[in-house]
Symmetry: C3
Subunit: 259 residues, 3 copies
Amino acid sequence: MTTLELTLSEQVRQQNPVVLTITNAVTPAKVADALSAIGASPIMSLAPQEANEMVTLANAITINLGTINKEQVEEITTVLKENRDQKPVVLDPVAVGASQYRLTVTKNLLQNYQFTVIRGNAGEIAALANVNWSSHGIDGGSGQANIHKIAKKVAQTYHCTVVLTGNTDIVTDGNNEFINHLSTNYFITNVGSGDMLSSITAAYLSVSDSPYLAACTATKFFTAAGVKAAREATGFGQWQVKLMDELTTLDPNEVLSFL
Amino acid sequence: MTTLELTLSEQVRQQNPVVLTITNAVTPAKVADALSAIGASPIMSLAPQEANEMVTLANAITINLGTINKEQVEEITTVLKENRDQKPVVLDPVAVGASQYRLTVTKNLLQNYQFTVIRGNAGEIAALANVNWSSHGIDGGSGQANIHKIAKKVAQTYHCTVVLTGNTDIVTDGNNEFINHLSTNYFITNVGSGDMLSSITAAYLSVSDSPYLAACTATKFFTAAGVKAAREATGFGQWQVKLMDELTTLDPNEVLSFL
Amino acid sequence: MTTLELTLSEQVRQQNPVVLTITNAVTPAKVADALSAIGASPIMSLAPQEANEMVTLANAITINLGTINKEQVEEITTVLKENRDQKPVVLDPVAVGASQYRLTVTKNLLQNYQFTVIRGNAGEIAALANVNWSSHGIDGGSGQANIHKIAKKVAQTYHCTVVLTGNTDIVTDGNNEFINHLSTNYFITNVGSGDMLSSITAAYLSVSDSPYLAACTATKFFTAAGVKAAREATGFGQWQVKLMDELTTLDPNEVLSFL
């Protein structure tokens, strides 16, 4: 963890990058507020007709597969095709292990387009690695496999950085690995924590040349905000409120004290 | 109210049932957070292609008709057809009296599929009973008919448990009736209170053999959380926050003290 | 600012007008809660089949273009066609300058239907006036043109009242102009502030014969609630909570003290 890295948070606040999020239908407001809170500018779109211009004005893109259907897959494909300048793209394969449909769509996307970062929980990353895992809906579930090896394998297979989130977060580009122990159970109770981190990571990617360092820093900053919020909150609802407070005001230097 | 009943809340927390909610477009995040707060695991889907697997992994299902259109009716029908194991299903006929389209769709569903619980306000349950009622958008409205008789009639007609919510909640299976006086106006101001209770009821159904007792207990627990939150809150926004706090932490034994 | 005007807030609370909002996919819950908080009754719909009845039961309508696609444009057109009684309609052309698709759809709507109020930020109103402006996604952006003249031009061109929001809000019917300095940066951080004001304005339109006075009063009331919330809040999340508190309870007479 370096001071250099921490300046990424300041750069997001100063540069106000536009993050185009192809969102699920459940948590778009949470993702938009989280992006806005860290200093980025969210934009969302459901129309293939404007994909070209949306990609042009975006500094980074997040593809969230949480409630995909035929129409949204068309929208996603159009956005990815229009990304000729290869702006950084985060893939969030929500509950990819829960249905063959999600798995097929996700693997097709991974074969045809280059993603900068894949962010998912253990069950989701395991599904991408074809590893047996006991998923539990949108939750991480449990399994016997070594999640460090799974994350590394997915990063190497798809030539990208993987952020595997849980009680312990693993960030790896296939060679380097960063382990983040900052955690609170509120992240699990709060539906959309992963969606928020995926789009926050996209914002960080847009102000850094290193996807790995950007993903590490985004993960640290987001989880530090959550841990600080948990120290102050007396319950789940209050934690949600304080998380937004912290995302807005957390001093990047203070993040160091959490590590 | 028995200790046996109260243990349902603990069972939800321990068993972490997956509740598949076919949601309206307005309140999915509120419903997902409420389910997560009580210890259940929400999942949502917009794709008929994965309906079979979604139903398989779900322990209970909620069908919310708040913003139906042609595509969502297809999705709903597919989910209900795939429910061959007859997992418990809650129907939430939002504003069913507001348009002929909603009424026709709802009655078709009721004729072709068995629902375990119907949860609605007085105007919605009256519409299902073909009783004249002055609806007011998504609100309960007012009418001259006896809401106890209306709820009973709907329960008997559709062989299910009816939860009619308002200042006074009525839960009936057509024979037994439970009246719940726990109430706060914040439930009315908060858009999605009914949506939340419908999906919470589904979670309780998945851990009980008695739909009637499960619906009674879910209603008590949810309204007790709301009443306790109202005692602590100084305004509507704070109440929303404290409701989430209470749903997460409320001691089921404390619910007794509210009754 | 007159006492007469302030009574509009009381009238909304007493008359509980139904506001049909054709909403974007990001902030429907925020808009619904804001409407409910001020005493109005929100309703939302995605089905052209029920447009006639939805318009009939509504006292005012908001058309929000934040995430339009082909299906929603059909829905919007159907709603506007069904509005034969010319109930007041607010247009919210979210990020209209961000894509040719949004601009074409918006201009088509403006040519074919009469809107009572157009509510947008500087970038959005500038796009409608064909003025060069440096937009930044959903944010207001910056430009050299005189925003007072731009707002006036759009009001005169489309024979409506324009509410141009930003650090300073401008309300104009093409002849009169009201300038509102009540502001807090939290309005900008909070995704959906504009969406909320658009639908709140629709509620005020339904209880007034003067669109200009209704739009002025709605803007004052909403921004006063936000400024009061900002005085009490220690961060962004808390401000969101307190905004809902204030929308519910703010004494219209207290608004005077903010001006």
